[in-house]
Symmetry: C2
Subunit: 229 residues, 2 copies
């Protein structure tokens, strides 16, 4: 089968930056694929693929995410479209990048055979312009976690205040003042105390909380932002 057009068309792909978080180890990871074929054969790259002609760009991103991780019902947002002329040595390829947030407690790891989770702090060199795309995703995550509660997408259903703080510290790559963080957090009144405590820990068991999604939606309509740091 061949498709003919009057004017040359770039190929259109999606690339996905899939962040995974393991709260028990305070470990922020990214899912990468080992490339088998040239260009960049043997190198690691972001999972991605062509946008099919009968699917929306967003559907293509959801499909890629599902193929690589086995999950589809997680946070997924469009990041940016990368359209430099020479970003792929084979052909003119424009890529719409997405980023996903996966709690590795809630969605146990089902990475495809060619895929592997890497610590964000210890990444290999990536093919194409994927280092730039990944950097862009990390920036978005850092900015967004300061005014929207997307961090909760990365945590288990219930979590301790220390776990929440460590997630922020991992993403922002700096220490956060515990007292100030808790004060701002509790003032927003968006956490539900489950009445339960964590189990199986050597230290004194801490209180477990849940995020109050409904209350947040209500506050958001009135223009409140989620500013804890």
């Amino acid at each position: 089968m061949a498709y003919t057009y009057e004017y040359a068309r770039p190929a259109l792909t999606v690339d996905c930056v899939i962040f995974g978080y393991e709260a028990s180890a305070s470990s922020l990871k990214v899912l990468l694929i080992r490339r088998k074929l040239p260009p960049f054969a043997g190198d690691w790259s972001l999972p991605g693929g062509f946008v099919q002609i009968e699917e929306s760009v967003e559907a293509a991103a959801i499909r890629e995410l599902q193929e690589e991780t086995g999950v589809a019902d997680v946070f997924l947002e469009q990041l940016y479209t990368f359209g430099a002329v020479d970003r792929d040595p084979r052909d003119r390829v424009v890529s719409v990048a997405y980023y996903a947030l996966v709690s590795l407690q809630r969605h146990p790891l089902q990475a495809a055979t060619d895929a592997q989770w890497f610590e964000l702090s210890d990444l290999p060199e990536l093919g194409f312009d994927h280092t730039e795309i990944l950097g862009y995703a990390v920036e978005r995550l850092r900015r967004k976690i300061r005014y929207e509660p997307i961090g909760f997408e990365l945590l288990p259903e219930t979590f301790t205040l220390s776990q929440l703080q460590r997630l922020y510290e991992q993403i922002l790559e700096r220490e956060i003042d515990k007292r100030n963080f808790r004060k701002k957090l509790l003032k927003m009144d968006l956490l539900i105390d489950t009445g339960r405590k964590e189990t199986g820990v050597a230290h004194r068991a801490a209180q477990l909380y849940q995020f109050d999604v409904q209350k947040y939606q209500l506050l958001k309509q009135n223009g409140i932002s989620f500013e804890v740091v």
Copy 2:
């Protein structure tokens, strides 16, 4: 000339939401094009066009902006990529949307013959999904003006504090408390007092200010945000 591919490819376009601001009239406008050909012939739409195979997506947006307004050296930022399957009745077309901010004092209007500035508060119906794209751009502008000083792109080189406040009021579509606004603004110490006053006004002439770009860049590196409302 014809171009043949193994797999079907969507056409790729850029669409530009060009905001123009006239400080003297506190008037926020959008540049629209009257369509001559079907679909949506006679309707208004955002300026846009196909991404050429030898130009980057960003270069295509800059070219469109220049063709429609005669200016190129203004604020232009990628907004979002719209990729629904049926958004163009003729063909599968994916569009990368951009938005531009133009001060109509600094860049006198040179709209192309088929183009016209519309008040943001009084827009006609738009073809395609352009009402959605425009709504997305307005949302971005509203959010961004709260944490980055992009409003200065829309004002003349020198401006009064009242002009700055009215710009915020136009964009946010609500009244702002004058005392609180000025207090936050002056506390950030990002305005330069030019020592001059506005001329040709019936009321008492107000002080003219400039935005301190260098100081802002310096503060930004340290993670300060521009929060005046």
